[in-house]
């Protein structure tokens, strides 16, 4: 649903249909840098996509296509599981 302008627009108890929630952008929670991709090394194993706890790995069909920084919380699991160093943690201002 779109952002509400008045409290009275809130559905009763905030109960809502699937996918209808106002999504808070949680990327701002990162405190220790962000994962950065090196696509030339990627073998498209999609381990990062499987492990990401925030569904922040973006695919193009079944091909790795990058990271959604609006929702990546910077946990670095993707960097940890990547077998080919196609991901690394970098400072926020260096990306």
């Amino acid at each position: 649903m779109p952002q509400l302008t008045e409290w009275s627009e809130l559905p009763l108890a905030g109960a809502m249909a699937p996918g209808d929630a106002v999504q808070p952008v949680t990327g701002g929670w990162r405190t220790a840098g962000r994962p950065v991709t090196h696509l030339s090394s990627c073998v498209n194993c999609l381990l990062c996509w499987l492990y990401c706890p925030d569904s922040a790995i973006v695919l193009d069909g079944t091909t790795f296509a990058g990271i959604d920084y609006d929702f990546c919380k910077g946990c670095a699991l993707c960097v940890e599981v990547c077998p080919v160093e196609a991901l690394s943690m970098e400072p926020e201002d260096g990306a």
Partner: protein, 387 residues
């Protein structure tokens, strides 16, 4: 009106019979003194086939309220009951039930909170969930406990309210004391409460699934709380309407406040629960002596009937508030609400705390309270009223 003859029932039994007539689909409950007679009596009635209710013997009051939320939101008319430490253990989930707008009902046998551990009446347990966003109605006697329990589902399930409704009765003084109680016929109660039609779509409606109890950060939490405040405000009007309908059916009025001999009253006492009955007797005696005293009994503590308090007590010379709960270091809860309601009135305000842990409040002490000579803590050792 076709009430059957009165029966000799304790307040606990009266509420159990009301529940049996309402026939909730689910009652998750855990026993605790002095609530136990409610669920004990109700369980016997269900075992005898008088109601189709599924009683869930949960392992704690925290679980009782958790199960009650699930049942109420799944589409089952749901009730539970508790007291004191049970309500304290449940408190976390009471807030969630209110936020999830679960339209369930709960019978409360008011009992002092530990410590020290005690089993007798005061209102500290109710006050612990004062700000949770639930409706709280206080009965003066077993008859009112029965009446308010029959009214409760209609209030809880009204689409503008959709909140838990607590029907509070003083532990032992009402829960365990037998009085004549006029019950309605089973069919009358069933017709009065009607079918369960919750305003929220059912958790089990798989054709239109919904998320309940969402996460709300600083960007939306405040809006949830504001909506709850509006539901409590709406509840005041709903309670009035349900009380009107109940009065037409039963011939007994149970509105948010009950004025007693307020005509020309110079001193108005405000109280909750069974003490109101003793106060009425004292007022009758004082009036015979020409003392212009009156009582404003609060049935609906939440929502608090601030406007009625202002209209009915604001013109008195003195307003005296009796709290059966303390707020150490601050204003007792009922006194705080009355003070807020009367902020623009000329009446002087006095506040007394009485009856903690089941200490009796005798008519003589109430006379002294009216006469302005009682200490702030009435009936405690070491602070006697001057004779």
């Amino acid at each position: 009106m076709s009430t059957v003859e009165s029966r000799l029932l304790t307040g606990g039994e009266a509420v159990a019979h009301a529940l049996c007539q309402i026939q909730p689909d689910v009652v998750p409950v855990y026993p605790i003194t002095p609530q136990t007679p409610i669920i004990q009596t109700f369980s016997s009635l269900v075992a005898d086939g008088a109601a189709h209710t599924e009683i869930v013997n949960v392992e704690s009051e925290h679980s009782a309220m958790s199960a009650a939320i699930g049942a109420a939101l799944a589409g089952a008319r749901t009730a539970t009951a508790t007291s004191s430490q049970g309500l304290a253990l449940m408190a976390e989930v009471v807030y969630i039930a209110a936020s999830m707008r679960a339209p369930l009902t709960m019978a409360v046998g008011n009992r002092a909170l530990s410590g020290p551990i005690n089993i007798h009446c005061d209102h500290s347990d109710s006050m612990l969930v004062r700000d949770s966003g639930v409706v709280q109605l206080f009965a003066e006697n077993a008859q009112e406990a029965y009446d308010l329990m029959v009214m409760a589902p209609r209030i809880a399930e009204h689409p503008a309210v959709s909140l838990p409704v607590l029907v509070c009765q003083d532990g032992f003084t009402i829960t365990h004391a037998a009085e004549p109680v006029c019950m309605l016929e089973d069919a009358e109660v069933r017709a009065f409460v009607g079918e369960y039609r919750p305003a929220l779509r059912s958790l089990l409606a798989t054709e239109s699934p919904a998320s309940h109890g969402p996460f709300a950060m600083p960007d939306y939490y405040f809006e949830f709380r504001r909506a709850q405040a509006a539901a409590l405000e709406a509840a005041a009007e709903v309670i009035a309407g349900v009380a009107d309908d109940f009065a037409s059916l039963a011939g007994r009025a149970n509105h948010g406040v009950e004025p007693y001999r307020l005509d020309g009253a110079e001193t108005v006492l405000i109280a909750l629960g069974s003490t109101a009955g003793t106060v009425k007797d004292v007022i009758d005696e004082l009036r015979e002596d020409g003392e212009r005293t009156g009582l404003l009994k609060i049935r609906s503590f939440r929502p608090f009937p601030a406007q009625a308090v202002r209209e009915l007590a604001g013109g008195a010379r003195h307003v005296v508030v009796l709290d059966r709960a303390d707020s150490p270091g601050g204003a007792p809860p009922l006194a705080a609400d009355v003070a807020f309601a009367l902020a623009d009135c000329d009446a002087t305000l006095r506040s007394h705390v009485y009856g903690l842990g089941g200490r009796d409040l005798h008519p003589e002490a109430i006379r002294q309270i009216f006469h302005g000579v009682a200490p702030r803590y009435v009936g405690v050792r070491g602070e006697p009223c001057p004779v």
